[in-house]
């Protein structure tokens, strides 16, 4: 811990911005965005200051104590990996805030939206910079929460609500796995700080908990990063306003999973399971994502599915198991953040200006929206993996990393080529269809958007070009440190924009050729995909609906069974449990009583016992309630007499009074109760009830007998007897106990009496005047 | 030496009357007739036993309370019988079929 540090303030500042933004928007309207964007810009600028030192391999840690009893600190760790991520998040965040300022201009909940966005930004920065594993998890869940709010922003549309819930359930559920994972990591390593845990890879890999930790972390990462079969929530999340899609689903939230995998690579990686599971799922996600993408006609959805695909690619590379692949992953990650952010914003611009995102309805916008077109074109080229963009560099690196001679690599490579080719198709479709060709009639007459909106895509798209051109700097400042951090070893990235004749280039050419071919038959391909999907007829997305609905149905079934609304059933269950528990306890723990000694009682004692039993029998066999009530008196008097016989006059006194008063108020009440219907129990029920009563009753009897076998310790009563007169000035020891030795019991007791009286008056007097509306207070 | 003997006699006689009352309760034919047994023999029986207690106690306070109790029973027992008989009659619990007169129903 280094204590409070300006960087910490910067890293936490988005939360402050979240509080400010509703106020500022109320005051300044859409222009507040300019002011608010200063915050992420400031973070970006501040973090840039770390770049040189981090590039030299000096990771920075800082933090303050948060919850020391759990070892939770608000600590941060800036190395190549986290710094690059943080820069992407804050940098793109700046542009997104500006973009959102334009996109939602005049919207009633503009301020709220920006607040959510800032909350998200703060959380996301937290995820990638947190040093403390628990803090990391907290930020992680915060991103789920805030994305829930952002996805459901158009809350009165069902699709938005569904998508939001879906995202929350999938990513939140994955988050719980991550929580467990974090706990396991702590359990194994005994450490909470990532910077320390990172050195414990060997301990972890050898521990019996490795597999558990692996799967738990995978559970968190795969759900967050929309890996097959959890991919479905991400396209649905496109219900969110476009700034959200651009931010969350390009640069940031969905990459949190990738970040986590990269972060854990030095700890969990380098094992067979890691190097199998990640590539398999990643590649599957890549292919499925792209196939599903070409099925779409909505710009955002197409982009969303390619995002899924790209994430698959990143996961695959992260798990591939060599430094080259990691380097490639880093390139691709940066490239993807830049082009996908730009393209999403373009899609939003088109939607904003033309009123539709359906590529079949769009065309010829290039003249109306030249800047947008330029940005779209630049970004698409990068996405397509064409030179001289960073996307191209990334693809080269990918092929260089994975194109090996073994069957495993060949398979991965093959699928990667297919994925990349399809990615190119989408890139083309997004950049070409809306802008080139004939101008089409759109719901709105398209114009170039406001500066707030085109600034982002233009800057990002341009950066995709610039970063490739200054590849040396990029490599030195970002790629190498980041790849080094992921690999857990020093990495020297030296990719450049120049062509290197070789296998990677050949594979690129194949990819491009394949892509162009598919693009030419895009409508047919789309139709074919649609047909296939229709044939399958089920997917995880439908599965989610079935899960929720099934969950509700199952719950209803269970609950209606358990809570059936019948008091009699509740009572029966309760006493059955009591009875069985006592018998079980006595037998299982060897506490069953011995056979007791019987001594002869006097005849009148026996007579009173018998009277009590007769009284009870009279109550039970009374054919109507009134007879039962009158008979109740017998056992009550018998008990009172028993108290007299065994030296308890006060008890007897009270028992007589209470028993009689009980009967009196019963009679008073029964006077107004006209209960003609008989209350007979059917035989079966009587049999069952008798059985339950016998089990429980005999249980109590046996337990009492068991207690009676232990010698009694009369210390308390001896004390009371000794000092009742001498100290407490009372000869009636029972009364002295009641008003002095244990006066507090009596105070509680009279409180009960008072409240019972009050409650009864309330019951009698207060009548609901009308069947009032269910919800009234 | 008189007190224990007197008390013993009172106790036996009192218990005997209580037993008589109980037997009457079983044997007499209707609720009204049974009430005779219950209200009188019962009162006498318990009253005598209370007096026995007063005698053996040898304490004026206890004796006074025992006697107060007897007076109280004498005061309340007929009222209880009256209330119950009246209620039973008013709502129509019939006299025994062997009853020879019912001037109360004639009056109404």
């Amino acid at each position: 811990m280094t204590g409070m540090n300006p960087t910490i303030v910067f890293l936490l500042s988005p939360f402050l911005a979240a509080l400010l933004s509703p106020v500022l928007v109320r005051i300044m309207g859409a222009n507040a965005a300019w002011l608010l964007a200063l915050i992420p810009a400031g973070i970006f600028a501040h973090l840039l200051g770390y770049v040189p030192s981090v590039a030299e391999g000096e990771a920075a840690t800082m933090g303050v104590v948060w919850a020391p009893s759990l070892g939770v600190n608000l600590s941060y760790f800036l190395d190549g990996l986290s710094l690059t991520f943080a820069l992407l998040i804050s940098g793109i965040g700046t542009l997104i805030i500006l973009y959102a300022g334009g996109y939602l201009k005049g919207h009633a909940q503009h301020g709220r939206f920006l607040a959510f966005l800032f909350l998200f930004m703060g959380s996301m920065i937290g995820v990638v910079t947190a040093d403390n594993l628990i803090a990391l998890f907290i930020y992680w869940e915060l991103t789920s929460i805030t994305s829930f709010l952002l996805i459901g922003f158009d809350h009165n549309r069902m699709a938005s609500r569904r998508a939001a819930l879906q995202a929350l359930v999938v990513t939140g559920g994955g988050g719980l796995a991550l929580l467990a994972g974090v706990v396991v990591l702590h359990l194994v390593t005994g450490m909470n700080e990532l910077s320390l845990v990172l050195n414990s890879g060997d301990v972890l890999r050898e521990s019996p908990f490795y597999l558990l930790a692996f799967w738990l972390v995978i559970g968190g990462a795969f759900t967050k990063s929309a890996q097959f079969p959890f991919h479905f929530w991400l396209p649905n999340a496109m219900e969110a306003p476009t700034p959200v899609s651009a931010y969350l689903h390009s640069a940031t939230m969905v990459k949190a999973g990738v970040y986590l995998l990269m972060r854990m690579n030095p700890v969990l990686g380098d094992t067979l399971v890691w190097q199998t599971v990640l590539p398999v799922f990643g590649t599957a996600t890549l292919v499925i994502g792209t196939l599903l993408a070409i099925r779409q006609t909505d710009l955002k959805l197409m982009l969303a599915y390619t995002t899924v695909a790209s994430l698959g690619l990143l996961v695959s590379l992260t798990g591939f198991g060599n430094e080259k692949a990691i380097e490639a992953a880093v390139y691709y990650l940066v490239a993807h953040a830049l082009f996908k952010g730009a393209l999403f914003m373009v899609a939003g611009l088109i939607d904003h200006e033309a009123g539709t995102r359906d590529i079949r309805a769009l065309g010829g916008l290039r003249s109306a929206m030249p800047l947008t077109f330029a940005a779209a074109a630049l970004a698409s080229l990068s996405m397509a993996g064409l030179p001289p963009f960073i996307g191209f560099m990334a693809k080269e690196e990918i092929y260089a990393a994975i194109a090996r001679a073994d069957a495993w690599s060949v398979a991965i490579t093959l699928f990667t080529i297919i994925g990349n080719a399809l990615m190119l198709v989408i890139a083309a479709a997004v950049a070409i269809r809306p802008f080139l060709g004939e101008a089409k009639e759109t719901p709105k007459h398209a114009h170039e958007g406001p500066v707030l909106m085109w600034l982002g895509p233009v800057v990002l798209a341009t950066l995709g070009l610039v970063s490739a051109i200054v590849a040396h700097t990029t490599n030195h400042l970002f790629v190498s440190p980041m790849a080094g951090a992921v690999a857990g070893a020093e990495v020297d990235a030296h990719a450049a924009i120049a062509f290197h004749i070789g296998l990677p280039l050949a594979l690129s050419v194949v990819t491009i050729a394949l892509g162009i071919a598919v693009f030419c038959f895009l409508p047919q391909a789309r139709f074919a995909m649609a047909k296939v999907l229709h044939r399958i007829g089920w997917g995880p997305d439908t599965g989610f609906d079935q899960f929720i609905s099934g969950l509700v149905s199952l719950s209803t079934l269970i609950t209606r069974f358990l809570q059936n609304g019948r008091m009699e059933a509740y009572m029966t269950t309760v006493f059955l449990i009591f009875g069985v528990a006592i018998w079980y306890g006595l037998i299982r723990y060897g506490e069953f009583p011995e056979f007791p000694q019987f001594v002869t009682p006097t005849f009148y004692e026996a007579g009173i016992f018998l009277l009590a039993v007769l009284g009870l029998a009279a109550v039970i066999y009374a054919h109507d309630r009134l007879t039962a009530i009158v008979s109740l008196g017998i056992q009550g008097f018998a008990v009172a007499v028993i108290f007299i016989l065994f030296g308890a006059p006060d008890l007897s006194f009270t028992q007589f009074m209470v028993e009689t008063l009980s009967v009196v108020i019963l009679a008073l009440v029964m006077t107004r109760l006209i209960l003609d219907k008989t209350d007979h129990r059917p035989f079966g029920e009587r049999f069952f009830d008798t059985a339950v009563a016998l089990i429980a009753g005999s249980g109590f009897l046996l337990l009492l007998l068991a207690v009676l076998q232990v010698p009694f310790d009369p210390a308390l009563s001896d004390f009371f007897t000794a000092y009742s007169r001498v100290v407490a000035h009372g000869r009636n020891i029972v009364n002295v106990i009641i008003v002095d030795f244990r006066g507090l019991d009596t105070m509680g007791e009279i409180a009960v009496v008072m409240i019972a009286g009050l409650g009864i008056i309330a019951l009698i007097r207060v009548k609901a005047r009308r069947p009032r509306a269910e919800a009234e207070q | 030496m008189m007190a224990p003997v007197l008390a013993g006699v009172l106790v036996i006689v009192g218990a005997f009357f209580a037993l008589i009352a109980a037997i009457g309760l079983i044997r007499l034919p209707d609720v009204y007739s049974r009430m005779h047994a219950a209200s009188k023999a019962g009162t006498v029986g318990s009253g005598l036993m209370m007096i026995a207690l007063a005698i053996v106690s040898g304490d004026s306070g206890t004796a006074a309370r025992a006697l107060a109790g007897v007076i109280f029973f004498v005061l309340t027992a007929p009222i209880a019988a009256h209330l119950l008989a009246r209620a039973a009659y008013k709502v129509g619990y019939p006299l025994w079929h062997g009853s020879v007169a019912d001037e109360m129903s004639d009056a109404e």
């Binding site: 005849f603 009277l611 007769l614 009284g615 009279a618 066999y621 009134l626 008979s631 008196g633 007299i644 006059p649 007897s652 007589f656 009074m657 009689t660 008063l661 009967v663 009679a667 029964m670 | 224990p4 003997v5 013993g8 106790v11 009192g14 218990a15 209580a18 037993l19 109980a22 309760l25 079983i26 609720v31 009430m35 019962g42 009162t43 029986g45 318990s46 036993m49 209370m50 026995a52 207690l53 007063a54 053996v56 304490d59 206890t62 309370r65 025992a66 109790g69 309340t76 027992a77 009222i79 209880a80 019988a81 209330l83 119950l84 209620a87 709502v91 129509g92 619990y93 019939p94 079929h97």
Partner: protein, 107 residues
């Protein structure tokens, strides 16, 4: 036989008779047949219990039981009053009426 032996003997006899009375009274509570019968029997039971308490008081020498007997007399009266009132308000139950008519019919 000394006076005290006589007293002990008397008490035993009395307790026997009282115990018998308990059962007989109890029998009437159970068999009824009418509600006033049961109520009266319960009232009578109170009387017997008072006697019983008095005898126990004599037997044990704890004369303070007299107060219990006294209080029991008070509330016993209350119970009977409440039941009488109940009978008055509620009338003869259908079940009871049928029962009474059956008995009359058999005679």
């Amino acid at each position: 036989m000394s006076a005290f032996h006589f007293l002990d003997f008397a008490i035993s006899i009395a307790l026997v008779m009282l115990t018998l009375s308990f059962f007989l009274t109890c029998y009437r509570v159970v068999v009824g047949p009418t509600l006033p019968d049961r109520i009266m029997a319960l009232d009578m039971l109170v009387g017997v219990v008072i006697g019983f308490i008095a005898v126990i008081g004599v037997k044990t020498g704890y004369h303070l039981y007299v107060d219990i007997a006294l209080a029991l007399g008070l509330v016993g009266f209350l119970a009977t009053v409440a039941f009488a009132r109940f009978v008055l308000e509620r009338g003869v139950g259908d079940h009871e009426r049928a029962l009474l008519e059956d008995r009359e019919g058999k005679r």
